[in-house]
Symmetry: C2
Subunit: 395 residues, 2 copies
């Protein structure tokens, strides 16, 4: 019966039903793709409160007072009981906020959960090696623009589905043949982050509409709008039923725009058929009663969040100009961060990252193609941004 | 390139690369197994506060005051930032509570998330039909005792992995050849709920140890201890390193024992190698700061929870005796519910369920083999249990 074939050794031997006996090697129970996986590395979360934290794109302003009050109202009786499984009150608030119906909305445990669920719902795991894998080729997976959020390929690796990487243009825009390449790769899910991270570049929605239209009948287009609250436009028009785009899924999160990264609350917006499929994959009670209550309050009091967006946008302009005045190259950003290149005469980006850290200022450095000479700087409060500029002047 | 092969119609046609054109049929983007899925149905959650709710095994007593206080302490600054990704403070509190090391613990968004993660980590998705599927047979999936928690096969269906169902004995105990049958089925993950739901039967841990030992090198044994706080013993002794069981994983939850079903907080206990594999599959920030804080407080103040366990156990005895005095057959239960059969002269279980509901009392009825003639009744407060008994007397 090939008992040992159910469990692999750490050495990657073919296990075609043969009984393997390798007593000296530790046994592992996980699937090969999990064993081989390099997990996603979250940005540093230094716990010293004094650190100027401009590395993980949190909103520098606190959440709305109404959110804190809503959390305080949740008593023991609500905690004792199971929460509403589909977060109906939140979905109604979101439907009102975005002029959609609750059937077009799914609440998730952070935007990351929606990403995972979309891959689980739409993408095909690879057949086992040597068991008919070859004839499917590298079909059925995700397509991502590169560079972008490094979690996407990690989630694909967990699901063991292929990743097609499509390079962005020099100006960080999507190549004109993006949809064609998604289709040629046989991908079933294309993920675009817009505004783009880490560049801050915004694709206008008509361009995304053209891509979605080419992909109808081939693949779902997921637009990760994690940063959209800081941008001049969003992709909501694509959900208008009159456009006939049944394959568009928008990802939103309360982490950035609503200052609630600690809450883990995201949501998906899309056609009822896509949303219904995602609901089937959702853990039965995926969002808790505290998060549902806080998230509902956050949407009902968007004005307070909107104020923070305006302050961030104003500081984004000021910080960008201040860096440019110091001969940094700063990309135009529609997000709550700047991707900036220090001048050739200054220290290298990696070195500046280290020197800033020694001074208690944390920014993000990516040791990756196209990013090695740059730093990604989250927009902070005026005081935090001034601290950064002073530190740079001192370096 | 078989563009349309990436998307299936609602009719289950083979799609061997052929270009299908069926304009009259709605297209679907999800995988076949998701399209075909019958989702898990959570127990009813009536929102009228007056309902006597004895249907979803919630603890009838409120969570500890210390938990509510801990939640109240979480301010805007903590909500604004990303939470500790691995819930380290909670894992340290759990390590202390259970005399383990933090490396043996993983925190999850409810116990359900741990179930899903275990299946993702250890079980093999089926190869696509007609593409080498036959030669793997029905290997690589989960094995479950039947009947048990109906979520297990739903999660397996989402992952598209086989389910081997092994019937429990007449007295709801595990058959002596359980491990052998798990191995023969080629399952990589056996899931046992202990105390068992919906019967309340407890397997003593030495029996589970014998099963785990037979499964070493073949499959992970996951013991779902969702109800263990109401039992006389648990399976923690199996984690003692001296036993050499590298394949045991315990599931715990704060939903029942700690009166925190609304919080969605579960955790896994096991050897560092299993736990490490699960961490790789975990969403990067799977538990939020409010839940982490509340869960940590709950474990640090277990005495208050323990008091509720004792009250539930006392009421379990009283309710069982009261039902027996009314000629009901009541199974001995080590959990916070009773599985009880009304006497032949009374109405059928399904009818009693309906009649109780009309009187504002909600219990659980399963239209399934071995359960059709029974009701599962969650232990409530003395007042709730009295209300149930009075209603039964009136029927």
């Amino acid at each position: 019966m090939g008992f040992h074939a159910a469990v692999r050794s750490r050495i990657d031997l073919p296990v075609e039903g043969a009984v393997l006996t390798m007593p000296d090697l530790p046994m592992t129970y996980e699937r090969t793709n999990i064993e081989d996986l390099t997990p996603y590395t979250p940005g540093e979360q230094p716990r010293h409160v004094r650190m100027v934290k401009l590395n993980t794109n949190e909103n520098p302003y606190p959440p709305a007072q109404a959110v804190l009050q809503a959390i305080a109202q949740v008593g023991g009786e609500s905690l004792r009981r199971y929460p509403p499984p589909s977060a109906d009150a939140f979905r109604e608030a979101a439907a009102e906020a975005f002029n959609l119906s609750p059937e077009q909305i799914i609440a998730t445990n952070g935007g990351d959960e929606l990403l995972r669920m979309a891959i689980t719902t739409f993408c095909l795991p690879r057949p086992p090696v040597g068991r008919g894998g070859a004839d499917r080729g590298d079909m059925g997976g995700i397509a991502v623009a590169e560079p972008s959020y490094s979690l996407y390929p990690v989630l694909a690796a967990i699901h063991d589905t292929p990743v097609a990487r499509i390079s962005l243009c020099e100006d960080w825009s999507l190549p004109d043949d993006f949809a064609r390449r998604v289709i040629d790769a046989g991908a079933r899910l294309a993920i675009i982050v817009n505004p783009h991270a880490p560049s801050g570049h915004l694709e206008p929605w008509p361009k995304l509409e053209a891509i979605a239209r080419q992909l109808v009948g081939h693949a779902v287009l997921m637009i990760d709008e994690a940063y959209v609250d800081f941008a001049v436009s969003d992709a909501l028009p694509l959900l208008d039923a009159s456009r006939g785009l049944d394959n568009v899924l928008l990802l939103r999160t309360l982490s950035k725009g609503y200052s609630l990264a600690g809450l883990r609350f995201g949501f998906g917006l899309g056609g009822p058929s896509l949303i219904n499929a995602l609901h089937k994959v959702r853990d039965s009670y995926n969002t808790d009663i505290l998060a549902q209550t806080a998230a509902t309050a956050a949407l009902k009091h968007r004005d307070q969040a909107r104020e923070s967006w305006q302050r961030v946008m104003a500081e984004r302009r000021r910080l960008g100009e201040s860096l440019a005045a110091r001969s940094w190259q700063v990309l135009p950003s529609e997000s709550n961060f700047l991707l900036a290149t220090p001048p050739a005469k200054a220290a290298a980006a990696a070195e500046i990252y280290q020197l800033l850290k020694q001074q208690g200022i944390c920014v993000r450095y990516f040791d990756e193609d196209r990013l090695r000479d740059k730093l990604r700087i989250t927009i902070g409060t005026p005081e935090q941004n001034d601290a950064l500029l002073s530190a740079l002047d001192a370096i």
